[in-house]
Amino acid sequence: MTASENQHQENHAVLLVLFWAYVLIPLGWGVYQTFEKALALFA
């Protein structure tokens, strides 16, 4: 694998992590809010 291909793959990996974080952080916030609400059922 050439150096430029290696660099390209690393960039892809960073983008992958950032993009997943971009969608999963708000989703996690929403799930947490709902979970907190759901806890009232067991209170």
Partner: protein, 456 residues
């Protein structure tokens, strides 16, 4: 040079990482899932003029209820009519159009609140926003199936899980924004609409910019397509128009419609139902918690069941939904009669997980039966079953319940008949699933038609 939105421009190279596609789909579905949470705006919108309480000229809840109904109807219509266009122009243009419609719908609705003209909300969120919902819903599905031929169910489940999750973001976001913008002269709805419209537009555009389609001969590294065709999984393709001429399309339509009707039967009435069936034991706060729990299972079921369908097979997964659903629905009145809250909650949660699972598994079932080439468009047309169920489910529950109460049945027992009817609907679904067979030879496209993308 191909245009910015063209299929040629978004065709990925062979080394492209396919795991970048699910977040692109999620970026769209997490936004449009807000539709499920639109009701958080209803009560504040009945006080737009009066602020602290409704003024005589303020909108009534019944007037506002039409906004959501219109959005769901236009979701079904735009998915049905826009599906063919999606196959022609590709996912980027469709997703961008969805972003303009959904974001623009919010902005037009904000103007409607500012001018206190309800027709602008019907047009904005209902009609234009509804078109954004439909186009956004179907646009990434066929792309995901093409990128994940080895795990179709999991891939579509990820995106459609986002639609369930979108409500969990949309509801607290809407409430937080209204609180932040609330003043002595405003309930904060208009400002919340503007902020959400802009945020959702940006997020959906990011999704549309990130989406890529695989090169024609692409397959996942290390994966070889099975040499022998699995039963009920075709390697050939049925044209979008030809699919409508097959009995399989109508059986799948009925399968989706019945599964959704049964789920909505519980989801739409969950809060009132648990309070009335367990009178004195369940407070309104606990009932709201029950609704929250069902939403979590609805969302989780979308990913878990559709991923499981990759191993169980699509037909077996629906057999499980319908058989287990029938059993659980018919047991709910007994759990209520015995005062067994734990089993009642557990059964309801499992039913809702299968409701979500039914939504998320249907695109992969379509791809298995009709092939992958036109699955996005065919899926769009099948979503009219959702719009139908959206009307049928609440009507069945509400009218049967009202009828029974009018005829002297106690409120706590008024749900029993409805729950048995829901179990009956799921049995019909089981039979429809049983009748599913491979598409007849005459409906498949010829090799040259597939190559040219010709209409049949």
């Amino acid at each position: 040079m191909p245009g910015f939105f063209s299929k040629e421009r978004i065709t990925a190279g062979h080394r492209y990482n396919r795991w970048l596609i699910p977040p692109a789909a999620l970026a769209v579905h997490l936004c449009i899932g807000q539709a499920y949470a639109f009701s958080v705006f209803n009560e504040p919108m009945t006080r737009v003029l009066g602020i602290s309480q409704s003024a005589p000229d303020d909108w009534k809840l019944t007037t506002l209820g039409w906004i959501y109904s219109l959005a769901i109807v236009f979701l079904g219509l735009s998915a049905a009519f826009g599906g063919k266009w999606l196959e022609k122009v590709g996912p980027r243009r469709t997703m961008f159009t969805a972003a303009c419609c959904f974001g623009g719908g919010f902005i037009l609705s904000a103007i409607g609140v500012y001018l206190h003209q309800v027709w602008l909300l019907y047009l904005g969120y209902g009609v234009i926003g509804g078109c954004g919902l439909g186009l956004g819903y179907v646009s990434p599905v066929s792309t995901l199936i093409k990128w994940f031929p080895d795990r179709r169910g999991m891939a579509t489940g990820l995106a459609i899980m986002g639609f369930g999750g979108g409500a969990m973001i949309g509801a607290p976001l809407g409430v937080t924004l209204m609180k932040y913008f609330q003043t002595e002269t405003s309930v904060g709805v208009m400002e919340a609409f503007v902020v959400m419209g802009v945020l959702y537009f940006i997020s959906m555009v990011i999704g549309s910019l990130a989406i890529r389609i695989p090169p024609p001969d692409w397959k996942p590294e290390g994966w070889t397509p099975p040499v022998e065709s699995k039963k009920m999984v075709t390697k050939r393709h049925v044209h979008i128009d030809q699919a409508l001429k097959t009995p399989q399309f109508y059986l799948l339509w009925a399968i989706l419609c019945l599964n959704v009707t049964a789920g909505i039967g519980i989801l739409g009435q969950a809060s009132v139902m648990i309070q009335e069936m367990f009178k004195g034991s369940i407070t309104p706060e606990a009932a709201a918690g029950f609704v929250g729990l069902l939403s979590l299972f609805n969302m989780g079921g979308r990913f878990v069941w559709s991923s499981a369908s990759d191993y169980l097979g699509r037909q077996n997964t629906y057999f499980l939904f319908f058989a287990l659903g029938t059993f659980l629905y018919s047991m709910l009145p007994s759990f209520s009669g015995e005062g067994n809250i734990v089993l009642f909650i557990a059964a309801s949660a499992l039913i809702l997980s299968m409701y979500g699972g039914g939504f998320a598994t249907i695109p992969a079932y379509l791809a298995d039966i009709f092939g992958t080439k036109y699955v996005g468009g065919i899926h769009g047309r099948l979503l009219t079953a959702w719009a139908t169920a959206g009307v049928l489910g609440p009507v069945l529950v509400n009218y049967i319940r009202e009828y029974q109460i009018d005829h002297g049945v106690a409120k706590a027992d008024a749900y029993t008949t409805t729950l048995y009817i829901m179990a009956g609907l799921l049995m019909v679904g089981f039979i429809c699933n049983l009748l599913m067979k491979e598409v007849h030879e005459q409906h498949y496209m010829r090799h040259d038609e597939v190559e040219n993308g010709e209409t049949v």
